[in-house]
């Protein structure tokens, strides 16, 4: 039930991207009667289209347009053209995400205040009070039907979780459970309960995991107020002499350049494409790109301090069976500088299929040290580490004019160097993760390096002062009142938690704000 809007209709809100930020924002606005055109670079894939095959699914869903990398992070060496494992499709990376839905801890909203100045880091406090978020987190948890909220039971623990939980308890960890997951633990919201199929990263074929592709997007379309244009690849955002944005130029599925007029533009293309669009929109009036008088667009790229620990046991685990992210240990997520770093980290089970394990266990490795590990694949358990990394102004997305995409547009270069705090935290987490598995009899453990990034944050960050960031507490850019940032790129700091729930909560909140401002005639 799409609502076709004219290209010349300058009353619409254009939302660029349809994932956790854009997809939710588009629906929330449509529910309020606001006319929305959502431009999505990818095609539309639904549960019947998803495939239980890692590489085939990767080819179907992943954003594979060219990007380049630099910096000392190992991803730049091992996956130089693939800095992120994110999705180009209606629903964005909500098709691929694991489903972990946990709130920020209060102290994480005020990282600078609570951690103090950290050398080399560009820490700031969010310009949001944690109590302002309570209602929006409630709404987000309800929308995503998160387990262990709203009366939903937790998911049952799979084999991988049972190993993880037993090890955690032997070490004395107490905050150990099967997670708060946006995966139905019972049939609800017209979606089935989890069938323990695995392949959460390849799109949930049961629709048990929340994705905007088959929830918010069709709900918004059903109102008649939302039109999603698929395979619409944004080239640049246009503005008038008054410095207000007026429309968006994009390449349609035939490669023809189109221009959709707009009253408001909301950017939600994930933390590489969002700053890239702003930078590629440079003009005489805004020679450094839109909303970039601060020179902060693209800076402070965060990707979470990540890593994995896999372990081999003398008996089978079969970790691939069931929910991919099947449980969590939260004891290390506190801020406790006595550990030698600020901020904290979560430990969450993770499994990869054999093909991806070969690619990611120790990228570039070969010979028997590597192959004897894979030989024990059936006996492996695994966990992922996700912790708060330090924003650094030199970790940034810039335009690489030497490399062009299929439309001739400069691609994003992603530069990232680990901060000493990130390294100290990762080493601590490797040590704890290894100890967890050793406690239950691991015969061999593997401190596995970070994968291409899935949590991409911070490149258009919120700030109280316009010189410190790109947007204000509503995601509204400091420079241009009718231009908003609506994805994880608005994060001031990353916190230790998987970001999707917070992206969704911020999108619901932003929809309230934009609708109010539209009604008031302020934008």
């Amino acid at each position: 039930m799409t609502a076709p809007f004219e290209l010349t209709d300058d009353s619409v809100v254009v939302v660029i991207g349809t994932g956790a930020g854009g997809g939710v924002l588009a629906n929330e606005l449509a529910q309020k009667g606001v006319s929305v055109v959502a431009l999505e670079a990818g095609g539309r894939y639904l549960p019947e289209d998803y495939v239980n095959d890692e590489w085939e699914s990767f080819g179907q869903l992943a954003w594979l347009d060219p990007r380049t990398t630099s910096g000392d992070w190992r991803v730049a060496k091992d996956f130089s053209g693939l800095p992120a494992w994110i999705v180009k499709a209606v629903g964005g990376t909500t098709t691929h995400w694991a489903g972990a839905s946990i709130r920020f801890q209060d102290h994480e909203w005020k990282a600078l205040t609570n951690y103090g100045e950290v050398e080399g880091a560009s820490l700031l406090d969010w310009p949001i009070d944690p109590r302002e978020m309570d209602d929006y987190y409630d709404k987000a948890e309800k929308k995503l039907n998160v387990t262990r909220t709203n009366g939903n039971p937790g998911l049952p623990g799979n084999n991988n979780y049972k190993v993880f939980e037993a090890g955690a308890k032997k070490l004395g960890y107490t905050e150990v459970h099967t997670g708060r997951m946006a995966i139905n633990s019972r049939d609800d919201q017209d979606r089935l309960m989890c069938q323990q199929t695995g392949f959460c990263f390849q799109g949930c074929k049961w629709g048990a995991k929340w994705s905007s592709a088959y929830t918010d997007i069709p709900e918004g379309e059903a109102t008649g107020n939302l039109e999603v244009r698929e395979k619409a690849h944004v080239a640049r955002i246009l503005h008038n002499e008054a410095g207000k944005v007026t429309g968006v130029e994009y390449f349609d599925e035939n490669g023809d350049l189109q221009m959709q007029k707009a009253r408001v533009v909301c950017v939600a293309g994930n933390s590489f494409e969002s700053p890239r669009m702003l930078l590629n929109s440079a003009s005489n009036m805004f020679p450094n790109g839109l909303a970039n008088s601060s020179d902060q667009v693209g800076r402070n790229y965060m990707r979470h301090m990540t890593g994995s620990v896999y372990a081999v046991f003398d008996k089978p685990v079969k970790m691939w069976r069931g929910t991919t992210m099947a449980g969590i240990i939260q004891d290390e997520s506190k801020h406790d500088p006595s550990r030698g770093f600020v901020g904290g980290y979560e430990l969450e089970t993770l499994s990869l299929g054999l093909p991806f394990m070969a690619a990611f266990l120790d990228p570039g490795a070969w010979g028997r040290e590597f192959t004897t590990a894979l030989d024990e694949y059936e006996n492996m358990a695994g966990m992922w580490i996700v912790g708060e990394d330090m924003p650094q102004s030199t970790n940034r997305v810039t335009l690489n004019s030497e490399v062009k995409d299929q439309f001739g547009l400069p691609v994003a270069n992603v530069h990232f160097d680990d901060h000493p705090n990130d390294i100290a935290m990762r080493n601590h987490a490797y040590d704890r993760g290894t100890a967890i598995y050793d406690a239950v009899g691991a015969t061999r453990t593997f401190p596995t390096p970070p994968y291409p990034s899935t949590h991409n944050l911070g490149t258009n960050r919120m700030s109280e002062n316009p010189e410190d960031g790109v947007c204000n507490k509503w995601g509204q850019t400091h420079d241009i009142a009718n231009l908003f940032i609506s994805d994880g790129s608005q994060f001031t700091t990353g916190a230790a938690e998987n970001p999707t729930l917070t992206i969704v909560a911020l999108a619901i909140r932003q929809a309230d704000h934009i609708a109010g401002e539209l009604s008031a005639g302020n934008i």
Partner: protein
């Protein structure tokens, strides 16, 4: 042991290949057919010299040695290089591998008996683009063959079987 087989093949290709003879249970027909001893694997060459291909297969096994994976899967993993546009690059790469092998062990690569000695040769060239290309291609070429997954216990697709909700997602018995 492909090492033994490839040595046999190499002798064949040197002495007998063009004569179209067979020996050691390996069939060599004309100049474009390679078969492992005992008929364990066989493949027709489209472009590469059989001895070049046999060495490439040995190299593939030495990069990712899995003793429970039969030769035919390594053959399949590198067969994509057997095409006219790859001949120069692959032949040059294998020639360089043999040069390094002769320098280090006074033998051609596939004639070196112990894996550890062949691995020494590979280590000496692991930063070369040729080595990295072959290694990188094997990550998908070998491990994305569904037929090898059972060797690792990996079960692959599960949706069509209803997932594991009734098929042992939590069947681990040895953990507390």
């Amino acid at each position: 042991m492909l090492s033994t087989q490839t040595r046999q093949l190499r002798r064949l290709t040197r002495r007998d290949l063009l004569k179209g003879t067979t020996a050691f249970g390996a069939f060599v027909l004309g100049s474009s057919y390679v078969a492992g001893a005992g008929g364990a694997w066989a493949t027709e060459m489209d472009a590469l010299k059989p001895e070049t291909f046999a060495t490439l297969v040995q190299m593939a096994r030495d990069i990712y040695p899995h003793d429970r994976i039969a030769d035919e899967y390594y053959v399949a993993a590198v067969k994509g290089y057997d095409k006219p546009e790859e001949v120069d690059a692959i032949t040059a790469g294998i020639d360089a591998l043999n040069d390094a092998a002769r320098n280090m062990h006074e033998l051609e690569y596939a004639d070196i008996g112990w894996e550890r000695d062949r691995v020494d040769v590979l280590r000496s060239m692991e930063d070369d683009p040729f080595f990295q290309r072959i290694r990188g291609g094997l990550v998908t070429g070998l491990y994305n063959q569904k037929a090898v997954w059972p060797v690792f216990g990996y079960e692959g697709e599960s949706f069509s079987k209803g997932g594991y909700i009734n098929r042992g997602f939590d069947d681990i018995a040895w953990i507390g």
